[in-house]
């Protein structure tokens, strides 16, 4: 592919607004286009996109590609892959950025397979190499035990998914100018072979993990479903959200939407309290952005203490009930 130019961000919206990951990707794209001296564009698909397009411009997009159709209102693996391919062929970006989200995890590999693009999944850092001809992406591999630095081929389109919270949005400005390009009639209708027949959200009580300032997370050491009642109680007292590791999810004590880590959510609270968590790299990779980490584990050699600021080497069953009782009297 020749004449590649600029960076295309695949936008995600929720309730008529851009998703935070899209703000982050636009912020990241701005940093990169400053160096390559090209444009950052944003793809928006779905319905009633005009206000979202303005939001995209204020968060750093120079150009907005719009595909407005009920076909793209809800995510579908076939229609989205088809659409993103179509827009990449029109826009010819050097780099196409998606979030490492439900959408990106599924669409990016398919789009790259169809376009012959390079691909890096779950990038946490992205820069332009010294020749300004290729991109250098850093991504955790081996469950977070190592970091790989990977360069793209000059002259070939590169597709990356980016982990949440690894890029920073710019402060939005309504004075920013941008161009809106409507591609609705230029994309053939998709062929849908995977039909969505049912959709269920898992009840997540209380605070959204990804936005929470305080998280109390319980691991395999909690032992059973009842034990999680203590975790919930502590989370409530601290004004925080409940999180977990793979083990309690596998055991069926808590829903998978609370899992934190490589295959779960990426969190960055001010305070992370890890209870009965061993500190496997696949979990730790998801909590590195936490400002302060407190760990309670009965094994003083547990790996979690290596990444914590404060440690309590004790049985949580001895400690938490006492802590909860005192907090109750102190707070009320």
């Amino acid at each position: 592919m020749n004449n590649l130019r600029g960076i295309l961000v695949v936008g995600e919206t929720e309730g008529g607004k851009l998703n935070p990951i899209t703000h982050e990707l636009l912020g990241g794209a701005r940093e990169l286009v400053k160096i390559i001296e090209e444009e950052a564009s944003l793809l928006l698909m779905g319905e009633e996109l005009a206000p979202v397009a303005q939001e995209g411009i204020s968060f750093g997009a120079d150009k907005i590609f719009i595909v407005e159709s009920p076909l793209y209102r809800d995510y579908n693996p076939d229609s989205y892959a088809h659409l993103i391919c179509g827009v990449c062929k029109k826009a010819n970006p050097r780099l196409c950025l998606m979030g490492h989200t439900d959408l990106g995890r599924e669409a990016a590999p398919r789009v790259s397979a169809r376009l012959g693009a390079g691909i890096c999944m779950d990038c946490v850092e992205l820069r332009v190499d010294s020749s300004k001809q290729s991109f250098v992406q850093t991504r955790p591999v081996f469950g977070g035990k190592a970091m790989a630095e990977i360069t793209s081929l000059p002259g070939n389109i590169q597709i990356d998914t980016v982990r949440r919270k690894s890029m920073s949005p710019i402060s939005p400005s309504v004075d920013r100018k941008g161009e809106i390009v409507d591609l609705t009639n230029e994309i053939d209708p998709p062929m849908i072979r995977a039909k969505l027949v049912n959709q269920r959200r898992q009840e997540s009580e209380g605070i959204d993990l990804e936005k929470a300032k305080v998280i109390v997370a319980g691991g395999g050491g909690i032992g059973n479903r009842e034990g999680f009642e203590r975790i919930k109680e502590l989370a409530q007292l601290l004004g925080g959200a409940v999180g977990t590791t793979r083990v309690p999810v596998d055991e069926g004590w808590v829903p998978h939407s609370l899992e934190i880590g490589q295959t779960g959510k990426i969190v960055s609270p001010d305070l992370y309290v890890a209870v009965g968590i061993s500190g496997a790299t696949q979990h730790v990779t998801g909590i590195l952005g936490s400002k302060y980490i407190i760990a309670i584990n009965k094994d003083p050699d547990a790996n979690i203490f290596k990444v914590s600021n404060l440690g309590v080497a004790a049985d949580y069953k001895e400690v938490l009930p006492r802590v909860i009782e005192s907090l109750k009297t102190l707070i009320q």
Partner: protein, 267 residues
Amino acid sequence: MEIIVCIKQILDPDLPPAKFMVDKERNKVIPPEGIPFVINPYDALAVEAALKIKDEKGGKITVITIGDKSTEDIVRKALAMGADEGLIISDTIFEESDSFAVGYILAQGIKKIGRYDLILCGRQAADWDNGVVGSVVAEYLGIPIVTRAKDVKVVNGRVNVERVTTDGFETFELELPALITVSSELGQARLPSGWGIIKAASKEIPIWSGKEIETDISKVGKKASRNQLMRLIIPSYERRCEFITGEDLHEISAKLTSKLMERRIHE
């Protein structure tokens, strides 16, 4: 039902960080001595998903892997779990292939096998954590795909897939043939039975070369790679951990309480 499951041999993902080492000169992982490679845990679950379908509907399961002779162990493991046939695709020209090349090689192998209704892969290989190959195979074969399944059912010649999303579940219905990638939420992979192990031990496992699957050599190996690994490093996330100490659990709990009071959210 003809089911094909793609399985990969990897370094044990549960290896403790202290045992994980890299050769910085060559950007390669140094496998610790005496610790055996394992079947990618998601691929073991893909085998499990195939076996569940076979238990209910009957059919034949073929497991296929790309790798050297040592991958025989994971193929035998899948056979012992209950898969019917095993196949290794092996050639020096495949060395250092990227996800696209691996997807291409698998697709060529699958075309040579010829008959298939369902292809199952893991959601990602827990070594390089890409999660790309399944999609590439589906694109090469021109078949539909849904990723991250927790449940795969064949009903009236179609496949019903319940998959996990970040905040819930979605169910898709696809025409066969289709490719599905499997996530950890599927449950647990069954252990090989005694009889399964005995049967698997004597089973012949064919090895196909690049030529036998009609490989276009421009599509495989290092030179076909669309990305280049520049550096592989072991990061350090260590913080200085201060331990709370005290006479007894009362005192420790009290100290912890005051730390939490300092850092809680004030409304």
